[in-house]
């Protein structure tokens, strides 16, 4: 376990008046073990003058503090944390997300290593203590010296005693006081080394009028230990009162061993929850091959600058983000976008650092490096998300803050009740005290709130990591919780349901005309190549795809919103709407049936006139994304209402919606109208997820309960979005909602089990079942149950790793 180092922090001048500005800092905090510790650090920070907001995360072991730089300073905040008894240090600003992740990993490995060593040593010491205690039992029967007081230990040891007597008869010849004093020495050793942090932290907490899990362990084992010391040092004191001077040494050691074992398992499980994040950080290659003075040299990736030309061979990782200059290759981007099929990259295309080049070699120019790179941003975003708190966490926080004093009070009440019950039942005061004591210690030990503190953060951690693997970046616990509650999904049409890139779908020629389909397309494209219109781009692209030779147009004239006309190699060509054609004095009627059919199918028919005669129609449409229909069906199967919003006219919108399987359509909506529509749905009581491309939909994404930005693989930092999809397809929307629902279920299960465990465990430990069925928990069984509860909560969260995406 991490020890609390306390180097001095420079004194800061007395606080200046508030400046009204707010800065944010993330302070790494060491030594927190449970929800109560976390609550304590958070309370202290919140009460520090100048602090606007403080959130402490147990899982990521850091405190995020918003403060007024005029009223306080990072050093003051660090000092405030240290005074609560936990370790804190100023974050180093020049470290990248990768280095921070590596440092955290190293610290976690070290924590696990130390905990494991302490747990194993304590278990060995526990076994040794049991062996040493066995001969004492016989002696104690003679009413002479301290035997084993813990009922469970007594039962276990009585069962093993004959075997020991046969195996090591010499042990029975050792004088009882020698055995007792040896036991005392072993116990002191275990408490002082393996269990020291429990006592040190409990004491620091106590001095600050606060209590946590360490308090419960320290008070429980401490009381048992003091009782045993008296029984060893002055057995006569007990014997004079008719009580056998029984000892709890092996119980103290075994309790410490079990709590440490639980902590060690928990530490390892916590490390596993960050597996996805670690895998992401590991994607960053260490070196890059750059072109310097016409030669290729390998340099550390840190020295690559924006503008450097980087060379990538097949099978190598792309070192930094950039734009391809020469060469062509298929690049596997699955680690970033979740897209399983390698993506073909040509000159001009963007490549992302950390992806794997599969087939060809290429050169590209570095664009973003270091902390600005896509991968570094994803890692940072994930770290922030994993450190964030889900609102449901507040329930656990509120309870854990009052939990320990309540438990200590219950333990005292248990002692009193047992004492009075046993004593008034005719037993001696000594026997009454021993039994009351065991029950009170069991209450203290079983009540550790660790499971409560882990219930929510472990689930957030695993779920956000799993999301990242699937190309779904969920920006924190709050987004996760809201996404789980979504009832209506609003899809923007262009770029979300559709490709966002108009494409020529049909070319129709006038029956009996001299010109063929390719002629009509070639002439229209030659003219349109002078136009900036998105539909023109589609026509030109299609002509090029068909290998048609385009010619330059002359006398080009554009009528905004209607069409264009000009001369192409001697032919007079006009391309435009039906109205535009009529204005030119050409009758569009021969193609009216076709135009109507295409428009009903959601395509935009463009009329082509050559030398004053109608030549044909080119239909342009924005095709729906492959898989959009499947996703819409899946969303509806999940019980969600799906609504499509678009600025297009009703007819086009309906056609697209029909193709995608969407029933509710709101057409003719301006960008600001999208916000109003989201508001209206919210007003009807729906929890709305808005899915858009994050650029022109930003206000609607921000307004929605959950904004989902559908990405191109590089738009990680879409500010307005709560969820960013790394892939362009819609499947991520269903994945995000499914994952969030499942995570919420896991959190609720975790909280239920953590609470249920305490609600059931405490009365049982207090002896509530004793009058009915004679059941009484030994402190040792209580500590085993406590360790088990933490491990089971973390294990339940880890089940989220088995979540499978739909793609």
């Amino acid at each position: 376990m991490t020890t609390t180092a306390k180097p001095t922090v420079p004194e800061t001048p007395s606080p200046a008046p508030m400046t009204g500005t707010t800065e944010r800092i993330v302070i790494p905090v060491t030594g927190m073990t449970c929800a109560a510790c976390q609550g304590r650090v958070q309370r202290t920070l919140s009460r520090t003058p100048g602090v606007v907001d403080a959130a402490v995360n147990l899982m990521t072991a850091n405190a995020t503090v918003a403060y007024d730089p005029g009223a306080t300073s990072p050093a003051t905040l660090v000092e405030a944390v240290r005074r609560t008894g936990y370790g804190a240090e100023l974050p180093s600003s020049d470290r990248t997300a990768f280095e921070e992740q590596a440092a955290r990993d190293a610290a976690q490995v070290e924590e696990f290593r130390v905990l494991r060593a302490k747990a194993i040593t304590s278990v060995v010491a526990g076994v040794l203590a049991m062996v040493l205690s066995m001969p004492l039992m016989g002696v104690a029967d003679a009413g002479h010296h301290g035997a084993v007081a813990d009922p469970f230990m007594r039962w276990a040891m009585e069962s093993l005693e004959p075997a020991l007597r046969a195996a090591a008869p010499w042990l029975y010849a050792v004088p009882a006081p020698a055995l007792s004093w040896t036991l005392l020495a072993v116990t002191v050793g275990v408490m002082a080394w393996a269990g020291r942090h429990f006592y040190a932290r409990a004491w620091t907490a106590f001095r600050h009028h606060s209590a946590d899990m360490n308090t419960l362990v320290a008070v429980g084992t401490g009381a048992a230990f003091l009782y045993s010391v008296i029984a060893t040092v002055a057995p006569g004191f007990f014997l004079a009162r008719g009580v056998a001077p029984d000892v709890y040494y092996e119980a103290v050691i075994v309790i410490i061993a079990l709590v440490l074992t639980g902590n060690a398992f928990e530490s390892r499980a916590k490390r596993q929850t960050a597996t996805s994040l670690r895998a992401l950080a590991d994607l960053q290659p260490k070196t890059a091959r750059v072109v310097r003075d016409a030669a290729e040299v390998d340099v550390p990736v840190e020295v690559v600058r924006s503008g450097d030309v980087v060379v990538v061979r097949p099978g190598e990782r792309v070192a930094v983000d950039g734009q391809l200059e020469s060469g062509e290759s298929a690049v596997d981007e699955s680690m970033i976008t979740g897209e399983a099929i390698p993506v073909l990259k040509r000159p001009g295309d963007r490549v992302i650092g950390g992806t794997i080049n599969r087939t060809g070699a290429f050169r590209y120019r570095a664009t973003t490096v270091g902390a600005d790179s896509v991968l570094a941003q994803i890692v940072k975003l994930m770290r922030d998300a994993q450190g964030s708190r889900a609102p449901i966490q507040r329930l656990a926080d509120r309870i854990s803050a009052v939990f320990v004093p309540v438990v200590v009070s219950l333990a005292i009440a248990t002692f009193v009740a047992w004492f009075v019950a046993v004593h008034s039942g005719g037993a001696g005061g000594g026997e009454a005290a021993v039994r009351a004591f065991a029950a009170a210690v069991a209450v203290l030990i079983i009540a550790c709130p660790c499971a409560m503190g882990l219930a929510v953060p472990t689930a957030v951690m695993v779920a956000t990591g799993k999301g990242a693997e699937l190309g779904v970046l969920i920006k924190g616990g709050e987004a996760l919780q809201r996404a789980g509650d979504v009832s209506t999904v609003v899809l923007d049409k262009t770029g979300t349901v559709t490709e966002g890139r108009p494409t020529v779908t049909d070319v129709v020629v006038v029956p009996g005309a001299a010109l063929g389909g390719d002629d009509v397309l070639r002439l229209a494209a030659s003219l349109e190549s002078s136009s900036e219109h998105p539909l023109a781009d589609a026509v030109v692209r299609r002509a090029r795809e068909r290998g048609l030779a385009l010619e330059a147009a002359s006398g080009f004239r554009s009528v905004t919103g209607r069409g264009v006309e000009g001369h192409v190699s001697g032919d007079r060509v006009a391309v435009g709407s039906r109205d535009f054609v009529r204005e030119l004095g050409v009758d569009p009627a021969p193609l009216d049936t076709d135009a109507e059919r295409l428009a009903t199918a959601g395509r935009t028919p463009v009329h082509v006139v050559v030398n004053g005669a109608l030549a044909g129609l080119v239909a342009v449409a924005d095709p729906i994304k492959p898989g959009a229909r499947d996703t819409v069906r899946r969303l509806r199967q999940m019980g969600l209402d799906v609504v499509m919003l678009t600025g297009d006219d009703e007819r086009t919108a309906r056609a697209v919606a029909r193709e995608a399987g969407i029933e509710r359509v709101v057409a003719g909506v301006l960008p600001e109208g999208k916000v109003a529509e989201v508001k209206r749905l919210q007003g009807e009581g729906h929890v709305v997820a808005m899915v858009g491309d994050g650029i022109n939909d930003a206000p609607a994404l921000a307004r929605a309960d959950v904004g989902i930005a559908i990405g191109t693989g590089t738009d990680v930092a879409v500010e307005a979005a709560d969820v960013a999809l790394m892939r362009g397809d819609l499947a991520g929307v269903a994945d995000a909602i499914r994952l969030s629902r499942r995570t919420m279920r896991t959190m609720k299960q975790n909280l239920f089990w953590a609470f249920a465990y305490n609600v059931v465990g405490i009365p049982v430990a207090a002896g509530a079942l004793y009058p009915a069925i004679g059941l009484l928990l030994s402190p040792i069984l209580a500590s085993a149950a406590m360790a088990f509860s933490s491990v089971s909560v973390v294990g339940n969260s880890l089940r989220l790793r088995r979540f499978r995406g739909t793609a």
């Binding site: 009460r47 004093p405 002692f415 009193v416």
Partner: protein, 41 residues
């Protein structure tokens, strides 16, 4: 009926227990705010 069966020791244990619980609540809840401002001074 119960009080008549209780021995003086029982009464002492009950009184001690109540006092201990009272002290715990006072120490962790009522005395807390004062301590925090001390701590930050």
């Amino acid at each position: 009926m119960l009080p008549t069966m209780l021995h003086l020791t029982d009464w002492l244990v009950i009184a001690g227990g109540l006092a201990a619980i009272g002290w715990v609540w006072w120490y962790f809840f009522l005395a807390q705010s004062g301590a925090s401002s001390d701590q930050l001074r």
